[in-house]
Amino acid sequence: MNNHLNFSMMKLIQALTPLLFTTGLLFANLEKELQTQFILAASGDTITIPKGHHKIQGTLSIEGKENLVIQGVGMDVSILSFSNQSEGAQGISITNSKNITLEKFTIQDSKGDAIKAQYTDGIIFRHVKVEWTGGPKETNGAYGLYPVQCENVLIEHSISIGASDAGIYVGQSNNIVVRYNEAFENVAGIEIENSYNAEVYENYSHGNTGGILVFDLPDLLQKQGGNVRVYNNRIESNNLFNFAPKGNIVGKVLPGTGIMILACSGVHIFGNTIRNNKSIGTGIVSYFMTEEAIKDSLYNPYTADIHIYNNVYDRWPGFPELGFDIGQLLAVKYGRNTPDIIYDGMQDPEIQAGLCIQNNTDARFTDLDIEHNFDSWYSPFVANFSEDMSKHNCGAQHPLISKSKK
């Protein structure tokens, strides 16, 4: 009898509690209210980030949810500021979810990554701005928009400013579209790492250390990427000093880099405007260039099947970045006229498809041939690098050139 009474009471309270939670009556503070909504959200819900500049102290997390829209009133209108963050490494963290859309809000000054999504199938960032407001600094968080180990990623009409690693970073993911975004004052504007099937187009990446990076790194679960197409982007004046904390691979990116392809195969770079990046317009290099030991027996450090075509290169005369070895080397060899496309010559010996360079406007080329020219510290300075592009003209055999977008 007693138990029965307790049970009814309990059920009543139980039935009322979610109602109280979801209507937000219990909370004065937006952080707790948003977090509660993220926890209690049902499939199909839209959660609104209200207008205003809201201070948030801990990571807001979304875990194990389906079909949610997190929506602000507008970029720069609904602002979540983490400048006083005391807990958690991210601004927003999304894990184990499906079909999550984030749109129309701004994240500022998170201690670590601004928005990280992991193990999520279907993640959309649209009209989202992430920024560190104190300018480029080593103490800024690593990544701005950061899907990792995700499927079906769309990042569009978004802005990233000030990330101490990459502004827009997609890692160990598959089926990716990154378009119509702007990235500046990051170490890397946009980076695609160990990912398959990525379309990166019509972005504006400028004023970063490096504009767009396509990397494959060792010792990761998704060993390799491929089928990455980078096209119709504007990649300009990426001459910012490298402010990544040492130890991170992106810390090796030479200031003045437009596009860098590291240890990848199956990459198409076309239709881009690559302008005034002082050191390397487009670099195609193997992992050997990092001078890191390779202990991952499943890792392929070479590049192969790389296609560079229909791009427009333009560069004011001037010295490349001299604070890095490779910059000094280029300066010694080329003075103020660094070539636009720089290749380390390390073609994967087991893959026939090599490096193809065609139909670019105003592109100058050099092959550093590091296998033969880098056997002592001074040898690169006396070596004759090959500036002959003709052996990389794949001509009519070119399989995909007709697909390039105008």
Partner: protein, 350 residues
């Protein structure tokens, strides 16, 4: 008045599960107050368990800002666990794990002036495990469900007489999952053979926990415990070598994320006690996506050089963008950092 977790109470729990099973709201599995579960009799803060609520501990503990912890396990009546050597036991539905976090006002008098902070319970629901935190009131008479997390002012005097003030953090519902999710499913971390295989002071006397469970009918198929693995208590100098103790510490504090199938796998750093590949353990491994966590250092572990090892740097930090683990502590586990430093210092064999 003696309460037990009676059939009637179990029926309540069961009805509860069924009646809300159609809704998506995780709250349907949680009671609003800790007392609603009837786990304890007498003054609730004393944690005198009713029949069927069995106290236990684990040999290596997650560091939680020096909080002391009381743990209990509840199996549904008439059901038992099946012994397994590796991994977390496969619990029947409606099993519950209870863990209360508390501080003495002064660690030099650890039994006096106890303040209970929170009680976390893990319930094995028909939708899998779910974790809920209950925050104790000031009067220490009741604890209330809080799914969105909380930060509490906390203070204690440490064993050398220093006052430590900090914000104690109660995890939100998602943060519970953050540590407990493995291969996309939430599961307990502690109840494994190697962490339970040691003596415990039961009211009825000191006894090996697994053997006790066997006598209570809670586990079947248990081999002789002397043949079973045992993770050392890393705080106890006599429990194992520096390496064994350090591996036990990083296993329980790091491997819930840093293992294959858990969120830290992104980095390729695997710190579970079974890991044998030196690179995956961090030896001369460059950081991935570490940001400021790299501390301008090149590798997770540099054998012989703890001060050049990112692992030590991140364990010794309380900056949210640097510290590891990312959650669950506001203080540095000084003794833990020292142990890991010692391990790295003596490390040669890799």
């Amino acid at each position: 008045m003696i309460k037990t977790l009676s059939k009637a109470n179990q029926l309540v729990l069961l009805l509860f599960f069924i009646s809300f099973a159609m809704s998506e709201n995780p709250l349907k599995y949680a009671q609003p107050k800790l007392s609603d579960y009837g786990f304890f009799e007498g003054r609730m803060a004393d944690h005198n368990p009713v029949t069927g609520v069995i106290p236990y501990d684990v040999s290596a503990q997650l560091f939680s800002d020096y909080a002391l912890k009381s743990r209990f396990i509840v199996l549904p009546q008439g059901q038992q666990l099946e012994y397994q050597k590796d991994g977390t036991f496969d619990f029947p539905e409606e099993s519950v794990l209870i863990k209360t976090f508390y501080y003495p006002a002064d660690f030099r008098n650890p039994d006096k002036n106890i303040r209970l902070m929170e009680t976390r319970i893990l319930i094995h629901t028909p939708e899998g495990w779910m974790g809920f935190a209950y925050i104790w009131n000031e009067e220490q008479t009741e604890a209330f469900l809080e799914i969105a997390g909380e930060r509490l002012d906390a203070s204690f005097i440490n064993p050398i007489g220093e006052t430590v003030n900090f914000k104690y953090s109660v995890p939100n519902f998602n943060q519970c999952k953050g540590c407990h999710v493995f291969n996309n499913k939430m599961e307990p971390i502690g109840p494994k053979t190697r962490l339970l295989n040691h003596d415990f002071d039961f009211d009825s006397g000191r006894m090996n926990q697994l053997e006790k469970w066997e006598t209570l009918g809670m586990i079947s198929g248990l081999p002789s415990v002397s043949s079973l693995p045992q993770t050392p208590d890393y705080n106890n100098f006599e429990s194992g070598s520096i390496e064994e103790r350090a591996r036990a510490l990083i296993d329980i504090n790091c491997a819930h994320c840093h293992r294959l199938g858990a969120p830290g796998e992104t980095s390729g750093l695997f710190l579970n006690i079974e890991e044998t590949n030196p690179t995956q353990l961090g030896v001369h491994k460059p950081p991935i996506a570490a940001g400021r966590g790299s501390g301008d250092l090149d590798y997770t572990i540099v054998p012989g050089q703890p001060d050049k090892s990112i692992m030590v740097y991140r364990m010794a930090s309380t900056d949210p963008s640097i510290m590891m683990p990312e959650l669950g502590r506001k203080l540095v586990h000084k003794e833990g950092v020292e142990l890991v430093k010692q391990w790295i210092k003596e490390m040669e064999k890799y």
